[in-house]
Symmetry: C2
Amino acid sequence: MARKSSTLDPQRLDNQICFAVYSAAHAFNRVYKPLLDRLGLTYPQYLVMLVLWERDDVPLKEIGEKLFLDSGTLTPLLKRLEAAHLVKRTRSSEDERQVLIALTPQGHALKDKARSVPQSILAASDCSVSELVAMKDEIVALRDRLNAVIGE
Amino acid sequence: MARKSSTLDPQRLDNQICFAVYSAAHAFNRVYKPLLDRLGLTYPQYLVMLVLWERDDVPLKEIGEKLFLDSGTLTPLLKRLEAAHLVKRTRSSEDERQVLIALTPQGHALKDKARSVPQSILAASDCSVSELVAMKDEIVALRDRLNAVIGE
DNA sequence: TCACATTTAATTGTTCGCAATTGAATGTCC
DNA sequence: GGACATTCAATTGCGAACAATTAAATGTGA
């Protein structure tokens, strides 16, 4: 009883939820890799395409808010998507500060090719949809609490 | 009923557990940042230190297995920790292929300074320990299932 | 209108993360 | 013992991720 049980030691790697999340994110990335290679996308690029497939012609700023990414990450990423002829970047005529991101026909067409990706991920998760939804909601709630702290 | 409800659309960003995990990992990183800045560590460097604080004089390979990272990531990271005088890298005399990572006195001493980090994270999570442990176990189980698929 | 603050992207520099390759050390099989 | 495969770390190249800075466009208040 004198020595703290290792299963309760908050400084142990295996007891840290952040490492669980960190390593799960990398595991997801590795599962996505071969699926997205066929689409010519990286995972963050795929996330941007998901945003655009929901709504086209979105300001860079708004993509950043949805994905929690800033222009330092998105500007070069979007330039790569533009070089791949999947999106077009244009300055807004109403507000020259904003850059609007629009899908090209190829970018729009890619949505169909990507349709099988989620079910491949579901299969790899080896888990029921309802369990995954419950976990997702818990993780999102945790993320939002963390982000609330960052804003002070 | 003809149109699929958006809350069930698997191609919607908000319905993807992987994005929840991805964005939660980044949120954790942002919460850790100011805490680890005081220790002069990045989050992946902190993970390596957690491994070494549990057991010293560990082969690079073993650190990689615990953190799911390869030498391409760890070699430069460990060189930075060595430059910061927190670890020492030596070739094993028994097997010259292996590099053993050992804590310096400063590296060992940093454990005490890092003791308050987990409770700061717990506070930011705004969640009970038992809830976090339950979530952690679920996420680890998911991660392990995903990693099992990668190995084919 | 003019001075000043705010907003927005882009840029720069550092660190991860990983695939692919290289090279050295070790293990195995004949 | 020698040919061969395997293991392990290091290296190279590319794409995030983010802090900090810069520059241009817009908003605001005297």
